[in-house]
């Protein structure tokens, strides 16, 4: 049987990373189709619960990407987000979720190539980990 393809959920900030993904698209840069993109206004829009919820629902890996520090459209959104991410990332690892399942990246609107590289890297790492193991049975909403 063919190995199950990993599902990656990417939260991309509207002003940088989403535009970066767009650039990758218009530049015809290839990247794995495993990624599902959700556009958010800013990386600080990410409630860590989004990440937990995604993993609970059976997503194999989550990527959150935003503007580089200092470039935030809302001046300091990504700085605040960075603090939240620091805590949730090490916490999820602590309770037994592999650290590569939850990843963060700064991707600017000019970094189409880098967007593709990050997606490739995240997909490969998550593929290596295999499907996410569930604590209980999952329920679809």
């Amino acid at each position: 049987m063919k190995e199950r393809e990993p599902k990656i959920l990417a939260f991309l900030c509207n002003w940088c990373s989403y535009a970066g993904a767009d650039l990758a698209g218009v530049s015809r840069i290839q990247y794995p189709p495993n990624v599902r993109v959700i556009r958010v206004p800013c990386s600080s829009r990410i409630n860590p619960f989004f990440i937990v919820k995604a993993l609970q629902q059976g997503i194999d890996g989550v990527l959150v990407a935003g503007c580089h520090p200092g470039d935030c459209h809302y001046i300091s959104g990504n700085y605040v987000a960075r603090r939240k991410f620091a805590i949730i990332k090490s916490f999820l690892e602590y309770i037994g979720i592999e650290k590569d399942r939850v990843q963060f990246a700064w991707i600017s609107a000019a970094e189409g190539l880098r967007f593709a590289e990050v997606i490739k890297e995240v997909t490969e790492k998550v593929r290596g980990l295999g499907p996410i193991r569930k604590w209980g049975k999952i329920r679809r909403v």
Partner: protein
């Protein structure tokens, strides 16, 4: 202890007689042995109900958000006082509305641990110097307090209140040499499978009574995310993944806010190890932001602020990547 109790009553009487406060929050004798229950005293004639012993385990700061707007005096141990500071910092209560009756605390006795030592039901319990004596139908027992303290009291750094208007008893020196996160570090060293299994096993005990939330002074949200029906963050049943999600987020919400008083764990009827989650969060907050909750009335909670120099070694920043340079 008797001395402290007498002084609490005296001070309470004075405060109520002078009408400096509307309400005293303290502890009274509970109907069960090995327990003390919170009491709310409005009248100076009732101050004799106030007690102080090694079973005063609740964090009384929990009640302050519920009586906000009134002048209140509260009996506070070291951990309670840190919760009070955290609540003031978060704007939930006003410093000038609260009179803190601070009591340096030697640690509270773990009733469950004592209950497990004896056969049968404990009918009476008493405290004498550094010993706790219990009596049942056909047994008696004497236990050294020191050996039966709550785990949170064993790793307590700040026994004395951080803030107090009235201090009763001698201040106890801060215990800063303690390696308070030794257990957490030990747990971190386990393999990912062991950690996962342990977490699943512990959380599987949860019956979702939310006693941990109710006991916690920092869980003051008018509507908790777990009660939300739109969006419905968590299903209502006992599916393990829902239990896990609830406990992950409950602990995460404590980031930079938990004082490790241990109230959640004491309130838990299923004896879930809840502190192993919040302690990890506390440790990360300390490592990343060099912040300990409830010590400084001026310091903002760490997740409401930032520094451009915050550590970001966990983020793909692109500096090591060989891709195109940033188009500045």
């Amino acid at each position: 202890m008797q001395d402290v109790q007498r002084k609490i009553r005296e001070e309470a009487k004075k405060l109520l007689a002078a009408r400096s406060v509307d309400l005293i929050i303290g502890f009274e004798e509970a109907s069960l042995p090995l327990r003390a229950s919170p009491v709310f005293i409005h009248n100076e004639d009732d101050v004799e109900a106030l007690v102080w012993n090694c079973f005063c385990e609740n964090n009384l700061a929990t009640y302050l958000t519920k009586v906000a707007g009134r002048k209140v005096a509260v009996v506070a141990k070291g951990c309670d006082s840190r919760s009070i500071v955290a609540l003031i910092v978060e704007g939930q209560i006003k410093r000038e509305e609260i009179i803190v009756i601070g009591i340096p605390c030697q640690g509270m006795v773990d009733r469950r641990k004592i209950e497990k030592e004896v056969q049968g039901e404990i009918l009476e319990a008493g405290e004498k110097n550094d010993e706790v004596s219990v009596r049942g139908d056909d047994f008696e027992g004497v236990f050294k307090k020191e050996d039966y303290l709550y785990p949170s009291c064993r790793t307590c750094e700040y026994h004395s209140p951080v803030i107090s208007d009235i201090l009763i008893g001698e201040k106890i020196k801060e215990n800063t040499e303690l390696d308070e996160y030794a257990e957490t570090i030990e747990y971190e060293k386990k393999s990912i499978n062991e950690r996962r299994e342990y977490f699943g096993r512990e959380m599987g005990k949860c019956i979702r009574c939310y006693a941990c939330r109710q006991a916690c002074p920092m869980c003051y949200c008018e509507e908790c995310f777990v009660d939300n029906s739109y969006p419905k963050w968590i299903e209502k049943g006992l599916d393990l993944s829902d239990l896990a999600a609830w406990h992950i987020m409950r602990a995460y919400h404590q980031a930079g806010r938990c004082v490790d008083c241990g109230s959640c764990e004491r309130a838990c009827p299923m004896e879930v190890n809840l502190r192993f989650l919040t302690r990890k969060i506390n440790k990360e907050v300390k490592d990343y932001f060099d912040f300990e909750t409830g010590l400084d009335i001026k310091a903002p909670p760490p997740l409401t602020t930032f520094s451009p120099d915050d550590r970001q070694d966990f983020i793909h920043s692109g500096e090591e990547s060989t891709g195109e340079s940033r188009g500045d």
